[in-house]
């Protein structure tokens, strides 16, 4: 009897961590929380690899000419940096880690709809990742096409594009299955009382994301499959001399890869929509406006792919239409930004680490979004196309936006996942270093791009050196900030003080269960009787 009580106590304290131990207990677990952590460790490992590659690229560009590596190595480095960051970090990052962990908790379910499929998705991710790594060391050397695999170069180059493209194919399936799983979960497993109007905004964001994953990712699978077909069987699909069309590749590729940008940013927006009301102690401003704008972004974002090809030789009409549609996407994005700012207005703001990240998200994402309009307008795009301006733009959106939101999410929910709290002061210092480093690194690139420095070049004219030096120093600051952030989080998760069920005073369902949550999530099915952002709980008193 005594023994049982100790075990129970341990189960309460360690939550799902107390489940089946050992490697096999983890890699064959169908618990959504364990799968989320499996993703967590893999994704973070790849993120660190991606960061290292990015830092090497910057180091090479510190001075004109060959500095530390030769041109071919440089081409391979930026290709891998892109492939790893996009397919292995930022696309799976938020949905697979935070989405997996939180989605069932937030809607009051015990797990996702298809737990085994969920585990299978992780295995596919693992296999895809191993294949991506294998492409570096086998065949004719690491791919050098850039992450976009443009034909005809990708079908002609002697490097190992076939394996890399197959890896992307497998990773795509992982993404599709995760999306399908989440959609079914949200439709079918909501707790009693959890109507569509009471879904936390993070869930809505995951919902919009999942539709894009389901609708667009098959096109990517098809596209990379065509590359493999072309390389292995020489099918001539993209070879104009045989009736093929190289531009068709760009269409197919961007039909997926532009919506993929929203797979990356929408979950980030969802995170920010959770953090801001919690730390402003105020109901989110315009709940439905945010929901509808998420769906509108998912929808309109599927119609703008050709703005990546404004200079590829489309008809003028095509350029005009896609330019216009691109501007339309800015509207729902701006609606969200205004709603977040309005939520902050007269809020009782608590500048804890998650909030700091959410605030820098607001600013960095806005810079990224507005520079996106410069690129979406056909006239200005011709000037800055394929320059460092583009590099700066998407790093502002993807890193300053999606990744900062992800870091904010980690600071917000890691105490829930690990049951322990990190050092707030260190976290704030890491955030400050990271934000400063980020801007030092990417802002000069905007200027360099306007001055005409092309992207993807291993070399540049001497006049660009001062700003490049600036950016490279910025990359060191950024890396220092990242290391400090990970150190702080790691130490917090290991040795921090117990966080308690609801360290931030959050109102969504995941805060109503212990940290870390028990394997079954809820002892009994919760009944939802409040809005997700109802902060009057404390005011009403006992």
């Amino acid at each position: 009897m005594m023994l049982m009580r100790t075990e129970l106590h341990e189960e309460n304290e360690r939550g799902f961590w107390a489940g089946k131990p050992g490697l096999f207990g983890w890699i064959f677990s169908t618990d959504h929380k364990r799968i989320a952590l499996l993703y967590f460790y893999l994704v973070l490992a790849f993120f660190l690899v991606g960061v290292s590659l990015g830092a090497l690229i910057r180091l090479e560009l510190i001075a004109p000419g060959a500095t530390i590596i030769d041109a071919q190595t440089y081409n391979a480095l930026f290709t891998l940096h892109g492939v790893i960051m996009i397919f292995l970090f930022i696309i799976p990052g938020v949905p697979a880690i935070l989405g997996n962990f939180l989605l069932p908790l937030m809607i009051g379910a015990r797990d996702v709809a298809f737990p085994r499929l969920n585990l299978f998705s992780w295995w596919l991710y693992l296999i895809g990742a191993v294949m991506a790594l294998a492409s570096l060391f086998t065949g004719g050397g690491a791919p050098d096409t850039g992450w976009t695999f443009y034909v005809p170069f990708s079908t002609d180059t002697s490097t190992n594009v076939t394996v890399a493209a197959s890896a992307v194919f497998v990773l795509g399936f992982s993404s599709i299955l995760t999306g399908m799983n989440f959609l079914t979960t949200i439709h079918r497993l909501r707790a009693p009382g959890m109507g569509w109007g009471r879904l936390p905004l993070f869930v809505w964001a995951m919902y919009a994301t999942a539709w894009i994953q389901l609708l667009a990712t098959p096109v990517l699978g098809l596209t990379v499959a065509l590359i493999v077909l072309e390389r292995v069987f020489d099918a001539g699909l993209f070879d104009p001399a045989r009736g093929g069309d190289p531009l068709m590749f760009q269409h197919l590729f961007w039909i997926y890869s532009h919506p993929a940008v929203y797979i990356m940013i929408l979950p980030g927006m969802g995170i920010v929509s959770e953090i801001i009301p919690t730390f402003a102690r105020k109901r989110i401003f315009g709940y439905w406006a945010i929901v509808v704008s998420s769906l509108a972004i998912a929808f309109a974002g599927s119609l703008v792919w050709s703005h990546h090809m404004l200079t590829s030789g489309m008809s003028d009409m095509g350029v005009f239409v896609f330019s216009l549609l691109t501007f339309l996407v800015a509207i729902p994005s701006a609606v969200k930004v205004f709603n977040w700012v309005a939520t902050l207005y007269k809020g009782s703001i608590w500048l804890a680490a998650p909030m700091l990240y959410a605030l820098s998200f607001l600013i960095l994402f806005s810079i990224g979004g507005l520079t996106g309009l410069v690129l979406g307008a056909a006239a200005t795009d011709i000037h800055v196309h394929d320059t460092h301006f583009v590099v700066a733009h998407f790093h502002y959106v993807m890193f300053g936006g999606a990744a900062f939101a992800f870091f904010g999410g980690l600071h917000y929910w890691l105490p829930k996942m690990f049951g322990r709290m990190y050092d707030q002061r260190l976290a704030a210092i890491a955030w400050a270093i990271l934000t400063v480093g980020f801007n030092l690194l990417y802002f000069p690139m905007l200027v360099l791009g306007l001055q005409g420095m092309p992207r993807r070049y291993f070399d540049y004219l001497p006049q660009f050196q001062p700003l490049n030096l600036f950016a490279t120093v910025g990359s060191w600051v950024l890396v220092a900030g990242l290391l400090l952030m990970f150190y702080t989080l790691h130490r917090g998760c290991r040795h921090g003080a117990p966080a308690g069920a609801d360290p931030w005073g959050g109102t969504t369902l995941e805060w109503s269960v212990p940290s870390p949550p028990p394997t079954e999530n809820f002892e009994e099915d919760p009944r939802v009787e409040r809005d997700p952002y109802d902060y009057r709980i404390g005011e009403e008193g006992p």
């Binding site: 959609l183 539709w211 119609l303």
Partner: protein, 286 residues
């Protein structure tokens, strides 16, 4: 509750619009500039080239190799000149034919637009050679072509851009050395659209693709040529001047339509299932 549960039905119109747009994009006119062969030339295309693998047109980069400098061409005034005389520094070689109805003009127009913007002294720090690969063309045609481009370039020194013609053997020795493969089609040609940059000793240091060049690209390659460095190629998308086969093209678009249709049908079916099946009954409820 029931009416909010049906909210995802809102997604149907978006999917329909997506389908429509995808269809439009697929049916859009071919994006590569199709080589419109003027009506006057049509009769020479009695047997239009079938798009088969037999046509060997393309560009195999030969970076680092040297072109033979002892080749003799005729310049625009009809004087015989050797490449050794002309290439006395970094040189851009543009293989074209002067009566080309299409992209050769764009390519040379692209050069004419970009060359005056370079911060290098033409004639001293770099030279340009347009070399006709049509052995039937005479210096008079070259002269006309040169006059055209010079007129648009302000005070660009005429000696810095030469327009050459030559015999078949000489032409092939040059194009083979460049890895440039073209094919005659009646009066016209199938050929890649690219220029090569060579150093003073004839070493090939870069290829630049397409018809428009960034001053930065050209300048960087010329600077590298003057230092004898070999750079990676710029703009790897190789454009072709070609007669395409509409039959094959239609086949390609069918592939796109069929797969797109399958994806959309599957996804709509899934949405219908989600909406129709409703919420799952919890075991604990029962």
């Amino acid at each position: 509750m029931r009416c909010v549960a049906r909210l995802p039905l809102l997604l149907f119109p978006p999917i329909a619009v997506f389908l429509l747009l995808a269809g439009l994009a697929a049916g859009a006119p071919p994006p590569l500039p199709p080589p419109e062969i003027p009506a006057a030339h049509q009769h020479e295309h009695q047997h239009p080239p079938s798009a088969s693998a037999e046509i060997d047109v393309g560009l195999t980069e030969k970076l680092g190799e040297t072109i033979p400098l002892d080749l003799t061409f005729l310049d625009e005034s009809g004087q015989p000149v050797t490449l050794r005389d002309l290439i006395d520094g970094p040189t851009i070689i543009a293989p074209v034919y002067f009566h080309c109805p299409d992209v050769c003009n764009f390519l040379q127009g692209g050069l004419a637009q970009t060359l005056p913007q370079l911060k290098l002294r033409p004639g001293e720090e770099f030279r340009v050679l347009s070399v006709s690969f049509d052995e039937t063309e005479k210096p008079a045609t070259a002269r006309g072509s040169k006059k055209n481009y010079m007129a648009s370039m302000g005070d660009f020194p005429p000696g810095a851009w030469r327009f050459l013609t030559g015999d078949l053997n000489t032409i092939h020795r040059l194009t083979d050395a460049l890895g440039y493969r073209f094919q005659r089609q009646g009066r016209d040609f199938l050929h890649p659209v690219a220029v090569a940059v060579v150093a003073r000793d004839g070493k090939i240091v870069r290829y630049l693709y397409g018809t428009r060049f960034l001053p930065m690209d050209l300048q960087l390659s010329l600077v590298e040529a003057s230092q004898g460095k070999i750079g990676a190629s710029i703009k790897r998308v190789l454009a072709f001047c070609f007669s395409y086969d509409p039959v094959n093209r239609r086949y390609v678009f069918n592939l796109l339509r069929v797969t797109g249709g399958v994806v959309l049908l599957t996804v709509s079916g899934f949405l219908a299932w989600l909406v129709l099946s409703g919420r799952k009954k919890s075991k604990r409820d029962g």
